[in-house]
Symmetry: C2
């Protein structure tokens, strides 16, 4: 491992680049920009190289999706575990992910996620399951209006951001949304 500089070939790195570049392409030019050729070239590899790492284009997409879901879960877990209040902890972590730091954490990742979902019904189902699992794990009621609104607002905000629509100050968004989760009733 310390002799990584010696290696001419670094398969793991190539695999990483393939996934990262695919995300970039999707974000910059839309999902249809994810072609085997384009991704391979961007990662400095030929199509053959691509198909060595992923048996198909769909496999690449699935891999990205899975990875993103895992990242999301762990990032949320880390934040939610620090939350003193149980009710709405998931949603607050969700908010914090989007508006927490000075720069949006997992911004690219988040957008790529949805771009992939929008073109693939199967991925949409996975997302739905993931979200339901998370919500029930953290004991949040899907019918809760305030919490739902907060989460939807987060989704809408990064979507807007991706579209280039202006967004209010990150700090004030964070504050307002977080506040709304505390006044949220435990039912409805």
């Amino acid at each position: 491992m310390p002799e990584a500089h010696k290696r001419v070939k670094d398969p793991q790195a190539v695999r990483r680049r393939l996934m990262d570049e695919a995300k970039k392409l999707a974000i910059e030019s839309g999902i249809s920009a994810i072609t085997v050729q384009a991704v391979a070239s961007a990662a400095g590899v030929t199509k053959g190289g691509f198909l060595h790492h992923f048996p198909s284009k769909q496999a690449l997409i699935d891999a990205i999706f899975e990875e993103v879901l895992d990242q999301l879960a762990s990032e949320i877990g880390a934040r939610a575990s620090k939350d003193r209040v149980a009710h709405g902890a998931f949603t607050r972590a969700y908010i914090d992910l989007a508006f927490g730091g000075e720069e949006p954490a997992m911004d690219q990742t988040w957008i790529a996620l949805s771009l992939l979902m929008l073109d693939d019904p199967a991925l949409r189902m996975k997302w739905t399951e993931w979200l339901n699992d998370q919500l029930s794990e953290y004991g949040e009621d899907q019918g809760n209006v305030e919490l739902s609104i907060a989460r939807f607002a987060v989704d809408g905000a990064w979507l807007a951001q991706h579209f280039g629509v202006a967004i209010p100050e990150r700090k004030s968004m964070h504050e307002a949304l977080t506040k709304s989760t505390f006044s949220a009733g435990k039912r409805g």
Copy 2:
């Protein structure tokens, strides 16, 4: 005009069908499902027929997009004009469009809009301009946190809906979001 039933050819209707079927395809199977062949077949026309009405696939997409923006503007205008309170009227109309009736108005349309945008940077810019125009026309500050959150929540909600994620009761969503626009400060 009253003898429209006599006509064997009805170009306007064909044009309509092409646009409608394209929307359907996008919604049901993602944007990549919009191919000239698929749209033409769905509308009961050949590729040649398609290309007679629209010089290119992009032209069809542009036409749909423009139409949707117009529809949206007029629907919002109709609702906002009935609003007694000026501040936040646009956002309330926006909310009402999504959660107003028993069934979401312009649901298909709305989703189709974003699907198209997500794959086309040029359309994204058009949307941004449209939204900015509307906001300034109705005198809403883009920096207003409460109103922005409400609008983002609407966006996130139909996105969720399209993903198959459960959403709280329409009525309570409508109520909560509308309420938030009244308590919204005129600044920030």
